[in-house]
Subunit: 371 residues, 2 copies
């Protein structure tokens, strides 16, 4: 087995644990920053390490198209390519194929699609997706799945679920040595189909289990309902990963239900757009009131940005569209996320997760930009 999961402590259904990989330990619940093109946007890998990142996510779809997985294999694998020695999880490309590409055609055998970069024609199969992830040499691979859209009727959702199960079986058959493989649960917004998907997927015995097909446009209440229904059905002794969900209010709900792993572009993308997370809520750095403000962005924050720069400077950099603006903002938002996850783990260890959640919820809901 290429990874080992240890549950350390539970608080209700919330859990603290660790995933031991050949490239380092991951403390859960964990936030995995997204490094789409083999780099977390605006960051260097050294900065990611300093910030406390324990695992990065890279996108199989993007790296397959550019520079090509055989290029990355040729130069020694993804870790060497991007100069990151810690664990890497690669997604399967399923989400991107279904959301980014024009003219996709789903066949039983795989998916035909055109590249969003140059329009070239490609055909991804479960076997090819495993071959790509083998070439990348990531520590955790994901099975190829169809991310069921929202809304989708029962018939579409059932067919999508069956395809995902079939593809999961094919991925498992060609599982790469030394690489963990996670199964993905689909089933849309239908609880019985979610249960069916869980049963079919866990029967195959993967190294971990992901819930896919959420945060795809459905109302929050519905998402929470599916999270709370599906998570307890997953084995307790394996890592549980909620794909693509990263709004911290959603994270609190999911951790309470027993989820261990998250990924999302929210902190990094928001940073580049000038939206920053603080101990008082969310703010937009471009607001006129910050023009002459000598205070740090968040006086309670200890990140590099808050220790060294004023709101006035951060606003100025943003208005000038300086690259340093995106860098400093990204450092701050990622620090906020890592700190939030550390606090969650501490709270679970102390049996205080519900108190933590109650304390953080109004702050997370506070949006200065709307006041």
């Amino acid at each position: 087995m290429s990874i080992k999961f240890e549950k350390i402590k539970t608080d209700g259904d919330a859990r603290v644990g660790r995933i031991i990989t050949n490239r380092g330990e991951i403390h859960t619940p964990v936030f995995m920053p997204v490094g789409t093109n083999a780099t977390v946007k605006a960051m260097s890998p050294d900065e990611m390490k300093d910030l406390g990142a324990e695992v990065l996510l890279a996108n199989t779809y993007h790296l397959y198209l550019r520079p090509g997985h055989e290029v990355i294999k040729h130069v020694g694998g993804l870790h060497k390519f991007m100069n990151w020695s810690g664990p890497i999880l690669t997604d399967s490309g399923g989400f991107q194929v279904f959301s980014l590409t024009p003219l996709r055609k789903i066949r039983d055998n795989g998916v035909e699609f055109r590249s969003h970069i140059d329009g070239s024609l490609h055909f991804l199969t479960p076997e090819l997706v495993m071959e790509i992830q083998n070439a990348l040499d990531s520590d955790i691979a994901m099975v190829f799945d169809e991310c069921t859209p929202y809304p989708a009727d029962r018939e579409y959702t059932l067919n999508s679920l069956k395809l995902t199960t079939d593809w999961a079986r094919r991925c498992l058959r060609v599982k790469n040595q030394g690489q963990a493989l996670f199964g993905i649960v689909q089933g849309g917004m239908y609880k019985d189909l979610r249960r069916q998907s869980v049963e079919e997927i866990i029967e195959m015995d993967f190294d971990g289990y992901a819930i896919g097909g959420l945060s795809v446009g459905e109302p929050k209440e519905l998402m929470y309902e599916i999270i709370n229904f599906t998570t307890p059905l997953l084995p307790e002794d394996k890592p549980r990963y909620l794909m693509g969900v990263g709004d911290l209010l959603d994270v609190l709900e999911a951790v309470a239900a027993g989820i261990d792993m998250f990924d999302c572009v929210m902190p990094t993308r928001n940073a580049r757009n000038g939206t920053l997370f603080t101990s008082q809520g969310r703010i937009s750095i471009k607001r006129e009131e910050f023009k002459r403000d000598p205070e740090p962005l968040d006086p309670e924050c200890e990140c590099y940005t808050c220790r060294n720069y004023s709101r006035a400077f951060l606003r100025h950099l943003f208005m000038c569209k300086e690259i340093l603006s995106m860098r400093l903002n990204t450092i701050h938002n990622l620090h906020f996320y890592f700190n939030f996850f550390r606090q969650m783990r501490d709270a679970i260890k102390k049996n205080e997760f519900e108190e933590f959640r109650k304390r953080m919820t109004p702050i997370l809901k506070n949006n200065f930009n709307e006041t």
Copy 2:
């Protein structure tokens, strides 16, 4: 006096020296990276320090328009604003007013112009330029000058020279306490006018002297002629600054003539465009041949980029327009520049400057992109 200049060694007319400021020593010949908007594009101030930058240049014109000098003064001056504790030289805005702005009108009293950002109307005078530089609290200020364009007839050039002399006198009259002030020599491509400008400017006794109005479109031979004619006319015991010239072939010519200080956007702008300086000449990182190349950009280089990343990765980042591409390329090019200047200083100390120049010239002329 706010700065002190010491000549340490000469080799022909080339000289090694140091400028002692309240914020640190500057070893000359020195390259001053350009931090237009209070940041060297793509870099953090800590990275600039690690690279060996001893002085940064900031643009008075840009900072006057955005965020405004009174904002920077309010938050504690430019050093604190941008988190750079070393020396800063601010230009006077003359070059930008004449090159960037639409609808400028030169009057005896100053220059009326419209902002290149929002079209707003402004009037810069020598006194205001000194007030702005006082608010910024830079270590070395420049007098307000008219940068004579090329080509310009004798009459225009003479009038421009007279205006520059008049404005220099007015700047000196309101010289800021604790801030060095450099005079600027104009005179276009007319040797007798260059001599006249030198005589008028050095008579006023500035802390250093700059040659302006070069690298404005004239042929290289003509630029070299004016550099070689003008430089020896400047006092030996003061720093000599050749404004806006940074092509390293030109730098070699100017250092041979006795110039001490340089600024230029060339290493940083080229980096962002993917053009990189190496020990074998200039290359464009986007070339197809680098797609699978596992070697560092320049095997002889010891910069962070070359120690940690392959050409294949650098090409990939550039093709993806990733921010990390601009960062890693800028680190490399600035390292190349600082290393080049260190080698020049070492060569002068060993009386080997001409040998160094002969060795470097073919490398600097080598451009792989044209082969």
